[in-house]
């Protein structure tokens, strides 16, 4: 075991995957020599050579489009989009191509690629370095969508994503890269080295896609969260002293519905938390599923605590961020309900 930040864990996942499987190639903007603007691919080019890890021109459609061709050839490309906010030029290749290749060719070709991208706010990135576009992927049949909340999962899930035979969108909450973030932006941050999930096994392991983790068992209300918001939810639950069961979804597609439904059946209350904007965010799907599958257990309407339906503002970032207070208020509402 080693203490790792999420950046280090992601780097390590790459190295493990590249070591085990020659078909894994890594590329993207600033990814090669420099090792990525968040340094998630640092050292890979030196270690594995320029044919395994290299710089790409600034063309997200070119990067993903080429990766689809490489995956169809038989490689396992793992590419980085510098910020999720910049994935849109690649969206056609992801949605129309990677996601449907196996289906449309009846298995004659497939596209086992991984597309990594940092998501979420909290770094004063304004509207173009803060987005959480997960529901733009979860709506697309043929894609798997993953968002880790800690170094242990980040490594295990990324290895699983690269090993997966289908395209995986791997969303990295950038605010978690160097330490857990509980939403109290004005308090002193703790580093991953002091968090239990900053303990990361060396070498190979994986965290299977499709299984959620219960981060805090509880009986009063179920909180569904992923990525950064797992930590914020845990902080809110603690601050407001609520006996909540906090579930970290880890993968959105495939979704671990069984764990969710079992929890809500037990608690009878549910709050969904995400940083993405409210309308048609993934929280809508979660609410729709929970009301369907746990309807007769629910004692109050499911609440969603999310980003407001606006672009991510720059200087008002902390007024925008769905922090512990808003979660606390929602918990109070569902517990009253």
């Amino acid at each position: 075991m080693a203490k790792m930040t999420m950046v280090e864990a992601i780097r390590d996942a790459h190295a493990v995957a590249m070591e085990r499987d020659e078909r894994v190639v890594v590329f993207g903007e600033d990814v090669g020599y420099f090792g990525g603007v968040f340094r998630c691919t640092k050292g890979l080019q030196q270690r594995f050579g320029v044919s395994r890890c290299f710089d790409a021109p600034i063309t997200e459609s070119g990067i993903v489009g080429a990766a689809v061709g490489m995956a169809a050839f038989g490689l396992r490309p793992c590419v980085e989009i510098q910020f999720a906010d910049y994935m849109y030029p690649a969206y056609d290749q992801i949605v129309s191509e990677a996601a449907r290749l196996r289906y449309r060719s009846a298995g004659d070709f497939s596209a086992p690629l991984t597309v990594r991208m940092p998501v979420g706010g909290g770094i004063f990135g304004g509207q173009t370095h803060s987005q959480s576009p997960e529901s733009l992927f979860t709506h697309v049949a043929g894609l798997k969508t993953v968002m880790p909340s800690n170094p242990y999962d980040a490594k295990g899930l990324l290895i699983a994503a690269i090993e997966d035979d289908d395209p995986v969108i791997f969303l990295e909450p950038k605010r978690l890269y160097n330490g857990p973030f509980d939403g109290y932006h004005d308090r002193v941050a703790t580093p991953w080295s002091r968090h239990e999930l900053g303990e990361v096994p060396e070498g190979y392991y994986n965290v299977p896609l499709g299984s959620a983790a219960i981060r805090r068992p509880g009986s009063a209300v179920t909180v569904l969260a992923y990525g950064t918001m797992v930590h914020v939810a845990l902080a809110a639950v603690e601050t407001y002293g609520v006996d909540a069961e906090v579930i970290d979804l880890r993968t959105l597609i495939p979704l671990d519905l069984a764990t969710i439904v079992a929890s809500v059946a037990k608690t009878g209350r549910c709050v969904v938390v995400h940083e993405a904007t409210l309308t048609s965010g993934f929280g809508a799907e979660l609410a729709a599923l929970v009301q369907k599958h746990a309807f007769y257990h629910l004692g109050a309407p499911i609440e969603r605590v999310t980003g407001y339906d606006t672009p991510y503002p720059h200087s008002q970032e902390w007024a925008y961020f769905p922090g512990p207070e808003r979660i606390g208020a929602a918990l109070a509402r569902v517990l009253e309900g």
């Binding site: 063309t59 038989g74 129309s96 196996r102 289906y103």
Partner: protein, 422 residues
Amino acid sequence: MTKGGRADNEVAARDGEPLTLVMPGPVVRPGQRPDFSHYGAFAPGAFRRPAVDDSAESMVDLATGLIRVLDDDGNAVGPWNLNLDASSLREGLRVMMLTREFDRRMMIDQRQSKTSFYMQCTGEEAIACAFQSALRTGDMNFPTYRQQGLLVAAGYPLELMMSQVYSNTMDPLHGRQMPVFYSAREYGFFSISGNLATQFVQGVGWAMASALTGGSAIAAAWIGDGASAETDFFSALVMASTYRAPVILNIVNNQWAISTNEAVARGQAPSFAARGRGFGIPALRVDGNDYLAVHAVASWAAERARANLGPTLVEWVTYRTAAHSSSDDPASYRSADEPSAWPLGDPIERLAKHLMVLGALDESQLATLTEQVESEVGAAQLKAESFGTLKDGPKPSPREIFEDVFKTMPESLASQEREAGY
């Protein structure tokens, strides 16, 4: 300084005339006389054949020329004449004729509702058929919907193509894809997407993968004149230029993109091949209705790719004789006389004439060949129809709706399948 400051800096320039735009379109519209004189200037044999390792810069003229081998009298002339042997030429003729006959039958079947949709490549057969003859096993085409000739020339079973068109129980794609959107990995034919241009950059990626793994297979990507305006056409050029990928980038300029003339996508550029100039990619414009020219240029480009000299961009000039698709009627947007005024002729007639000039074909042999082709397609059709058509007979199971979304079906989808109850 105030914002008025800029006014102080005004340069002396012609003033006054209001700005206008150019609105490009075809030279003529329905009811007018077609004019293809801009292609008239290029004589067969007129353009040199550079060494494969010549610089892109040294051959910029070839992007606005027109490489031709067959002249109007059926002779093969000039430096691009590779003197293909008669049996290869006869085989070329045969696969072009097969392709045309296949199209003809499928078009009738579409009218008879045996399929929902069809797209012919009439008049463009030489491009795909001759191109395929320059590829090797393991190479991969990334085609559009009008390169059925690649499959026919590669020997892909016609009954499988038909079954795909019919969406029957022998359809390799299980009825999921629209007609003509074939996929045949083993025959070097990548799954066709309905989204224009996406395949162009995928082809570059495939070629990169081949090179990254030290392989020897090359890729060929295909696109139409209209679709070359699409962004992924340029993603492909960027990626191919940056990494010098072993790929042949083919633009089929058949003069039309549905109702839109090639002038709209081309803009102020003198040709589509000229696009390559900006990327340092050797670019050639070629008579696409000339089997010999296509074979020669395809072989040259393949040789470049295999020799690690990187991508080649080729504009194949042809004419879309038929409608865009079974849903289209060109009468309302282009002159009815265009097909006959088209100066580069018909690829099948031209190759047949050449074979006759060579003494390698006579009228009776041609008649026999025609019969063979018709009966081959007819036999394939009988077989395919026995597995059903969209209209009648057996059909792929509705359970196929749920398969192959993922390698392993997730529970959420399995429950939808259960609910569907198929």
